[in-house]
Symmetry: none
Subunit: 197 residues, 4 copies
DNA sequence: CATGAATGAGGCTTCATTCAT
DNA sequence: GATGAATGAAGCCTCATTCAT
């Protein structure tokens, strides 16, 4: 329905797949166009038929992945009724996705922050939308009285996203296994109930 | 008192200063040895008299900054008595330092995660010590009954560090100003008291 | 007929030619990639599209020259019938080739010995084949009774090759002219008849 | 008696010794002044107090070694009476020295040929003297009727030196052990008696 | 739709060498 | 007699990118 997958030429698809694969193992700046092409069974030149740039390729791939990610989250949220339940779901779903989809998490956690250009990219909009979704739920929670009225919604969002991202770091960087459900529940518990005895 | 700065040759000092300065504006991989040298008023070759590598330069500079950072935090912590007060202080001090010392925060928040090599570097040990300090305080808090007994200390640490780091991101990347004290208080409030109404 | 020159891209050919030319005047380590490229009318980068290394370039060029060299020798040998006549031919042909083909002789006489890496290169195999050819002829000579039965074939080979190589040194290094036929005949006479009165 | 060893300053001696040692393992161009200095327990600058050049250092070291080498040979020769016996001795002694004194052989067999500059160096004179010694003995042999009258003495010398050097190559490059006496006897036999049946 | 030859800018690093102290 | 800080030139190599076919 996005109108993209329809008639994409084989070369384009191969390139994106190749790049996605490489991003699983290495970081952006250490992946060369030569590798991308070779890995895709395509010539280097072809990359520039479909992508303005190496960066453009990154953004387009990221875009595709993120779209999928956000779609999934939106669907799951509808299953929850209370705001807190929704946020719980987001925390859980985000952890799941981050860990399952290494490409996405690596880009969001590691790569993308390095490049100011990213923040002007289309891909960044998706991140923004994700963040806005969270913000809205928080605000609804405050409005509905579920969340304390004096809570700064922006700050809460930061704590939530920060917790999610940091919780994934060890896994993403060192490959340490992580019990997703326990972690999600724990984060949620800390943030909603506080840790004070 | 660290016994390091004493007899360091001028060139070495200039190089480190130059690099520190450049890191304020650009990210590691887009800083060239040529720039470092020019900016230091030194020849490129001299860099390799004092540093094995461009990376080695990064680590040594980071090391110096982090040492200072951790030193300050340790001193301030002693002023607090309760564990929660100590954690409050750490949150505040970390925010302050991160924002004041752009070099440090950029390296920790952005650069360093990209390089697996970093985790074998001496500089990483410092980060570990910082993390351990936080963990200890949490454990003391649990032992003393200040913090809920069923709290997972590792997870709490993740939430705290994640919150701190994420709270700084906007400032670090976009230069958005941040009210440090309010932010610190807010994070603390969320984490210790919870946001549930 | 070797099936190599057919579809070699122009750049590759130019680079090899340029390098061959430069080797005529200078020694390997004092030839720079910049010179090679300039002399070839090509950019430096292109070298690394076709050759892994500067060394790789050397080996591939050497390989091509040596192949030709050995081919010629083999053909000429068939014209001789006795073993001694064959060795005479080899001595003559080797001298001729060495002096005509400065590149080859310089590499074999001077450069190549410096680099242990050479002995693992494909080019070294060719040298081995050349040496083996000589050894076989000697052994045939011994078997057929032309050469004294108590001759150590390996040592004789050493003396032959040593004589050839040393005889060329003056020419190769100082450009002293050399009467090839007389020299060949002289070497042959010394080795086969001995110099004892 | 050469007037050198007398009051050589310690630094000079250390540098030469260090360099000699390094030449045992590596080749000239891959030994750096930094290594020489470090290995000598001296600063790089000091090298240039005593030697014009890195090359100059090479030549002076070579000179010392060669002088010793030639001295030994001269003494041994006097023990022989006939010219052929003398040449036999030279072949044997040369093989011995080459193999025992890796530095010397490596320089003569491998390094030195690469550099035209060498042939203007003082060290080259020594090689010349060595060569001239051999030539003289050959000429005496011809005059005395020991060696065939129609022998070209220059060519014979080439064959002799070529045989010696080539015989050592395998040992020097690959470390293949060599039975010196047998080899010397074999070379002598081939050259003086010929190999024709 | 795709190839593949070629570019060019610049990156990091090495090293012999000098000179003030 | 020796140090050690600093230089500068150049070397090899990498890589994103373009363009004619």
């Amino acid at each position: 329905m996005t109108g993209k997958e329809k008639s994409d030429p084989p070369g384009r698809i191969k390139i994106m797949a190749s790049f996605s694969g490489l991003m699983q193992e290495k970081d952006f700046s250490s992946i060369t166009t030569a590798q991308i092409a070779k890995n895709a069974g395509v010539t280097e030149g072809l990359i520039y038929k479909y992508f303005k740039d190496k960066k453009d390729l990154l953004y387009q791939v990221l875009d595709a992945h993120f779209q999928e990610f956000h779609e999934k989250i939106k669907i799951r949220i509808t299953q929850a009724t209370s705001s807190i339940a929704k946020l719980d779901l987001i925390i859980l779903a985000s952890l799941e996705e981050y860990l399952e989809n290494r490409l996405l998490s690596k880009i969001i956690l590691l790569e993308v922050r390095n490049s100011r250009a990213f923040f002007n990219s289309g891909a960044y909009k998706m991140v923004t939308i994700y963040a806005r979704t969270i913000l809205k739920i928080i605000q609804e929670g405050i409005a509905s009285g579920e969340i304390a009225a004096d809570t700064n919604p922006y700050l809460l969002r930061k704590v939530i996203i920060g917790a999610i991202e940091h919780a994934c770091l060890g896994e993403v960087i060192f490959g340490k296994p992580l019990d997703i459900e326990k972690t999600a529940a724990g984060i949620s518990d800390i943030i909603f109930n506080g840790v004070k005895a």
